[in-house]
């Protein structure tokens, strides 16, 4: 069984490990120059290099779509709708006029925060943390940040299912500084009743989200986040609609 597996690659060719290491920029200058020289004259290895790079690109592009636990199926669904712009502006003004004194959200640290607007039927209102919400409500998150950061919004519902609400990509997405900037999609709340934590991660780098989602689901909190990230948590209480 093992005999058949020997000597499949020409001895002079680069091993996968050497190629992976080269493509990750880990080789010393001398070793990298040797590998480059080999790639210049070896069509086989040159082709493998192109394949590895293409696989990397394809993997990073497709990873969030995998249903194998990489990103859990969304309980509440991210939807794209046009209700935001005008409605948010009006509701925002209303909120500013009506906002009660006191802390609305739980901010861990830093100068970035997450808010949301709630659309129920035709009504749009500014949301607040711990606000009762209903299945079928549309939630549009908005962020405020004093500088450009990488943002992700994750949620953990009462059934301990974690979801990545934003972005629909494997890494946190770059967002520019602004106040109450609406994210491009809304979340259609599902039927899972109870307390849902929504955590916004504002990071200095595009952190990978799959490990964080899993950590959130397993530990019930995002207490361990990459350095350079700050979290901002708000809570939704999903209640059953009254008959």
């Amino acid at each position: 069984m093992f005999r058949e597996l020997e000597n499949r690659r020409p001895a002079a060719c680069l091993t996968d490990l050497a190629l992976d290491s080269f493509l990750s920029g880990e080789q010393s200058a001398t070793a990298a120059a040797t590998i480059r020289a080999h790639l210049d004259r070896c069509a086989l290895c040159s082709q493998r290099k192109r394949e590895f790079l293409a696989q990397r690109e394809q993997f990073l592009a497709s990873a969030p779509a995998q249903a194998s636990g990489f990103v859990a199926p969304r309980r509440s669904r991210v939807v794209y709708s046009a209700w935001a712009v005008g409605a948010l502006a009006a509701a925002s003004l209303l909120f500013m006029l009506r906002a009660p004194a006191g802390k609305q959200f739980v901010r861990e640290k830093g100068s970035a925060e997450l808010g949301f607007y709630l659309k129920r039927g035709e009504q749009v209102q500014r949301g607040r943390s711990a606000q009762p919400v209903l299945p079928g409500d549309l939630v549009r998150f908005v962020y405020s940040s004093s500088r450009t950061r990488y943002l992700a919004v994750l949620s953990l519902d009462a059934a301990r299912h974690a979801s990545v609400y934003f972005p629909e990509a494997p890494l946190a997405s770059r967002v520019t500084a602004g106040t109450d900037v609406a994210l491009p999609s809304s979340v259609l709340l599902d039927q899972t009743l109870g307390r849902e934590q929504v955590v916004a991660l504002f990071c200095d780098a595009p952190v990978p989200l799959a490990p964080l989602r899993l950590l959130f689901e397993q530990s019930g909190s995002l207490s361990s986040v990459p350095e350079g990230c700050e979290t901002y948590t708000l809570v939704l209480h999903k209640e059953a609609p009254t008959p």
Partner: protein, 165 residues
Amino acid sequence: MRIPPRPLSELYRLHAASVFRRARRLLGNEAEAHEVVQDLFVSLLERPEQFAGRSTMSTFLYGATTHLCLNRLRNERNRARLMRGRTEPAEEAPHTSADDVLALRAALASLPTQLAEVAVYYFVDELSHQEIATLLGCSRRHVGNLVLRVQQWGQAQEEDACSAS
């Protein structure tokens, strides 16, 4: 313990596809390969100190991926799957037949741990003795001995199979 943001995001961007490629090749199952990627990066997030910087990150990840895959190949569910001869199509070396790959996975599930690691590095990854020595933290000569033991083990299995039939 926290991991600096650049290493974690960079690691994922640079290495996740390679981890996935090797895991899929070893396990013959795309869904499980994704789980290996996930397990590995979660573990790096939680325990960044496990990469001590004594080797390159690629070398470290080759070792970690191999361990995770061998553990999976040895669990009962996968052993049963291998015995039934059912794996999903996966990217294989062009000169390797499906039967060889299946037999190899079954062998990896049965070999003693260190021999299984060597079999992965030598027969699946086709690494050099020097690279395997770095991965295992031993001499090239010892790697040569281990490869020989793997070959002898495979030969004995074939002889057993012949005498049983």
